[in-house]
């Protein structure tokens, strides 16, 4: 039985779309920042686009994770509570605690270089 060439092409292209290099940027990356002693454990964190950063409050005090540019804003986090945000776009994201404004941090999202 002969398979029409157009069908073969479509099948091959579909397979490439499913397993090819185009899937790499969608890979889920994660990073963690601890909040302790009225500070952020990694004051400047560098990640790739698509990374989900999770902050965990290890203090006995309530803290927030609040974007200076109003991109994200956690509620008050009690001891052990977490807040997550996924950074999709390259850029520099400064944040602070709205209860203790001397607590500041930065997430730097670096562009993915072509071919990497």
């Amino acid at each position: 039985m002969r398979i029409p060439i157009t069908t073969m092409l479509v099948t091959t292209m579909t397979a490439l779309l499913l397993v090819g290099p185009a899937r790499a940027p969608a890979q889920m990356d994660t990073a963690r920042v601890e909040i302790q002693a009225h500070g952020f454990s990694t004051p400047t964190l560098t990640v790739k686009p698509g990374t989900t950063v999770t902050w965990t409050n290890r203090d006995d005090d309530v803290h927030t994770v609040t974007s200076v540019a109003n991109r994200f804003r956690s509620p008050g986090l009690d001891t052990g509570e977490t807040f997550s945000y996924t950074f999709t776009q390259p850029g520099t994201y400064e944040y602070f605690c709205t209860l203790h404004p001397l607590m500041t941090g930065t997430v730097v999202v670096t562009p993915v270089r072509s071919g990497s």
Binding site: D60, V62, G76, Y95, L99, H100, P101, L102
Partner: protein, 307 residues
């Protein structure tokens, strides 16, 4: 924390108790008390003066390891106020009524303080009372449509409540802001320099420890409007411990919390609730009585611990 650090902190606090205006520690009925010494200072109420109470940093809703029963210690503080004899004319709450705006905290404090038998309770907010909603709930409950700052006169003394916890900015210290400073300047402009002034606010108006945010960025400008007065008493909370400083006619006092202590400035990696042995906790919490006697420059400040 090492034992050495603990000793240094105790030594530091001991030194602080003796700086400035001279606090005299004594035992009254088993209760450690501190009072301003000087001829007749403690007899203010019998001289035609009056007394009021300060309570601070009640942090209702706090359930951390430093004090799992902040509601219980708050109620213990109320019994101290109720036991004051003669009764204080009113109570001033210098903020952090709630712990991070926990639901129901404002009602709990307002209802409980309304029951201690004083004429009135005055409030200013702490950052815990306004951080989540920009102060909307606090202002609707406590400010009667105003912005939270206020002044009133009581038997010849001018009281000013200031708000230094709105609009915190990243990396910046808390401030009063131009609008409030302008209001303060106008508020005291017509008063004679002989009027005793009492200023109260949550965060210290003087530089206690800027590295931990224990200062008000434009506090000096506010105090500049008050320098011409012969008696200025500044009452703050926020740092959960007693500190005192005298600058000319201005006397600064910070108050204990009723919920949990914080480390002495610079003792440890940062501020925040400090866990102490269970038996020591109530000795580090307390309330304050302030006594005014006409003709005396300084008000007598009496701090009473809960244990």
């Amino acid at each position: 924390m090492s034992e050495r650090d603990g000793m240094e902190r105790r030594d530091f606090l001991s030194c602080m108790a003796w700086t400035g205006g001279g606090l005299l520690w004594s035992l009254a009925g088993g209760v450690p008390r501190a009072r301003l010494f000087g001829p007749g200072a403690a007899e203010a109420a019998e001289d035609g003066g009056f007394r009021f109470a300060q309570i601070s940093d009640t942090h209702i809703g706090f359930k951390g390891g430093a004090n799992p029963d902040a509601l219980g210690t708050f109620r213990a503080a109320l019994t101290r106020i109720e036991a004051m004899n003669p009764k204080p004319a009113f109570v001033i709450h210098t903020g952090d009524i709630s712990h991070a705006q926990k639901a129901g905290a404002f009602d709990t404090v307002k209802e409980a303080l309304a029951g201690v038998g004083v004429e009135r309770v005055f409030y200013v907010p702490g950052e815990n009372d306004v951080f989540a909603d920009g102060g909307a709930e606090y202002l609707s409950r406590f400010a009667a449509g105003g912005r939270g700052w206020q002044s009133f006169d009581y038997r010849g003394v001018h009281f000013v409540g200031l708000v230094n916890v709105f609009g915190f900015k990243a990396g910046k210290l808390g401030s009063l802001g131009a609008e409030q400073l302008g209001w303060l300047e106008r508020d005291v402009a017509a008063l004679p320099g002989s009027t005793p002034i009492v200023v109260y606010a949550h965060v210290p108006l003087w530089a206690v420890y800027p590295q931990w945010g224990w200062v008000t960025d434009d506090g000096a400008q506010a105090l500049g409007y008050l320098r011409r007065f012969g008696s200025v008493t500044v009452l703050n909370g926020h740092i959960h411990q007693i500190m005192q400083k005298v600058e000319g006619h201005v006397t600064f006092h910070t108050a204990r919390s009723t919920a949990f202590p914080q480390p002495a400035p610079g003792a440890g990696p940062g501020p925040g609730p400090m866990t102490v042995p269970v038996g020591e906790l109530r000795g580090m919490l307390g309330v304050r009585e302030v006594r005014y006697a006409p003709g005396r420059e300084r008000l007598a400040v009496v701090d009473t611990a809960l244990a």
